[in-house]
């Protein structure tokens, strides 16, 4: 058996904008000569900003979209030719609420997809209740899907992708739009699937999620692979920066402006949470800059609630990579 369940070589995809007469007006490159390989049993993350090419990659690997050029092999098979065999051996979960039959029950959705995957009824009658239990929908399986919450729908999506017990799963932003509890449930399910030996390719916008779940992560920006490493390896790429963090009450705009003028500050960004503003300062010299930030806040009569110097996160690494 080959070592890798997914291999791409110079995988390239362009979308053509055509006029009424079918003439190409312009082309957009969604994926630029992507080279990645995913090992069997690995949980492989693909992260990148909106429009980076994550979903395009998943669509090509799952046979939903043809590449413009390059090659992609899934479970040793060519995505442009071996459609039937690839489809029998992969499961795909799309993020969001769409993609389920809302006017029928969760159970009926799963039984229908079992039929479409050619699962014998004797198997699906046992398997479907097991899946319902695994994703925590026991007791709600006979409700129409239109009555499900967003989190329940997402869990049903995962169960649907598993009705034929595929060895390889594609999860395209499976926690998008979910509340923290819903996201945590999905992450737990993903962890369980990995422990069960599934190979998983996950795309996500949430850096902590990628950090927590993935063995390796590919960072894609504007269709190009900009980094590929373990989460710890990606974070090492920003070891030269630390993060000074100051929480203040009220509008911190003047503070942010003054911090930008300090030497060695590479980036200042902020978040409003309730009545406080969290100001984060990227700099190689965190302790010194933090003291300067505290002084600046005092001068501006801003009350400091808390302050600290933090190690760089995957998000810091990601932001630097996609902005370079």
């Amino acid at each position: 058996m080959p070592e890798n369940c997914v291999e791409t070589s110079l995988l390239h995809r362009e979308y053509a904008n055509k006029d009424f007469f079918g003439r190409v007006k312009s082309t957009v490159t969604a994926l630029h000569e992507l080279d990645i390989s995913v090992k069997y049993g690995e949980l492989f993350g693909i992260i990148g900003p909106n429009g980076a090419g994550k979903t395009t990659t998943i669509k090509i690997l799952s046979t939903l979209l043809l590449p413009t050029s390059g090659t992609a092999r899934v479970l040793g098979m060519d995505v442009t030719r071996d459609l039937y065999r690839i489809r029998k051996n992969i499961g795909i979960v799309f993020g969001g609420e769409r993609g389920l039959y809302n006017r029928v029950t969760g159970f009926q959705n799963l039984m229908y997809f079992s039929d479409l995957y050619g699962v014998p009824p004797s198997v699906s009658r046992k398997k479907v209740p097991e899946l319902i239990e695994m994703v925590g929908l026991t007791g709600r399986e006979n409700d129409k899907v239109e009555k499900y919450s967003r989190g329940m729908k997402q869990r049903l999506h995962i169960a649907r992708a598993l009705v034929h017990d595929p060895p390889l799963l594609f999860l395209d932003e499976p926690t998008i739009g979910l509340d923290p509890a819903g996201s945590r449930d999905i992450r737990q399910i993903i962890n369980d699937l990995k422990k069960a030996g599934k190979s998983i390719i996950l795309t996500t916008h949430y850096m902590f999620e990628a950090d927590e779940l993935c063995d390796r992560i590919a960072v894609i920006s504007k269709g190009r692979l900009v980094a590929l490493d373990m989460p710890s390896g990606l974070k090492k790429q920003v070891k030269d920066i630390t993060l000074a963090e100051v929480h203040v009450y009220g509008d911190a705009t003047p503070l942010i402006e003054s911090l930008k003028s300090i030497e060695n500050v590479s980036r200042v960004f902020s978040d409003m949470t309730g009545d406080r503003t969290i100001v984060r300062i990227q700099t190689p010299d965190g302790s010194d800059v933090l003291e300067q930030a505290k002084s600046a806040a005092s001068r501006l009569n801003l009350k400091i609630i808390e302050s600290s110097v933090k190690e760089p996160t995957l998000e810091d690494a990601y932001l630097r990579m996609v902005e370079e």
Binding site: L64, L65, F94, G99, R103, S114, L116, Y117, G118, P120
Partner: protein, 272 residues
């Protein structure tokens, strides 16, 4: 090899039966009894009444008014066999289920046949109700009717028209929706299939279109069955109906594959 064929047949059968069971519940917008009754009872009455009054107003002869009544009683099945069937792909696009369906290894023929089979019952029921109105409310003479031929004609017309609906449905794989085309063909059917006047009244250049749409042969077979025509007279139209239905169905399967490939190439599968 034999094992592969047996497995393919089993998988095709599972997809067909699953889609048949699921089709009416999961993919039809009007999935409640009141909507079904509205379609079966009110729709044929409204359409037959409109064209019967129009024919009377236009001073049609009594025989031609009966021609119009029977024509519209049968044509109403198009709402189920063409419109609802054409909606299958579009409905999957709206619900976002099309990619999930197309990512299964199931035979496309099994899925679309399974989804559409239920509409055979619906469209046959609609036209049967229309013929009951024709008898009880509009005075159509059934005294010479051969009911066996009539039943076979209705059923084969329904099956062939569903093939036609499937053909239109395939367009939804590539275009945003097939519903515009389905609407257009509902009215083209009214115009060219001999619903309200014989196709001999059509301009010569338009007549070839009449012979493409199965409804033309179905209407001839039904009218001859009601008039009490013999086996050979009705049978030839039933044969045309079967040949046309098979040709249209084969075309639908071919276009399904073609449009699916084109949509994979262009990335249009999810555009709705």
């Amino acid at each position: 090899m034999e094992l592969n064929i047996r497995r393919a047949l089993f998988e095709g059968y599972r997809a067909l039966i699953g889609s048949l069971r699921f089709g009416s519940r999961g993919t039809i917008i009007w999935d409640s009894w009141d909507m079904w009754l509205l379609e079966i009872i009110i729709l044929p009455l409204a359409q037959i009444s409109f064209f019967e009054i129009l024919a009377t107003y236009a001073n049609y002869s009594p025989a031609m008014v009966q021609y119009v009544v029977i024509g519209n009683a049968i044509q109403t099945m198009s709402f189920s066999s063409v419109f609802a069937v054409a909606n299958i792909t579009s409905s999957d696009k709206w619900q976002g289920t099309l990619p999930s369906i197309l990512l299964t290894p199931a035979s496309r023929a099994s899925i679309i046949m399974g989804r559409a089979l239920y509409q055979i019952i619906m469209s046959t029921l609609i036209s049967t109700t229309g013929l009951l109105y024709a008898y009880f409310l509009f005075g159509v003479n059934f005294s010479s009717a051969n009911y066996l031929f009539l039943a076979v004609s209705l059923l084969l017309t329904s099956i062939s028209m569903i093939s036609f609906g499937l053909l239109i449905s395939t367009i939804g794989l590539y275009m945003r929706t097939a519903m515009i085309v389905a609407n257009v063909f509902l009215f083209i059917g009214l115009l060219v299939c001999g619903v309200n006047f014989p196709i001999s009244e059509l301009p010569v250049w338009l007549r070839p279109l009449s012979y493409v749409i199965p409804l033309t042969y179905g209407l001839d077979a039904v009218r001859l069955s009601i008039a009490g025509a013999g086996f050979y007279a009705v049978g030839i139209y039933l044969l045309y109906l079967v040949i046309d239905g098979l040709a249209v169905f084969s075309m639908a399967l071919l276009l399904t594959k073609t449009f699916e490939r084109l949509a994979r190439k262009s990335g249009r599968l999810e555009i709705y």
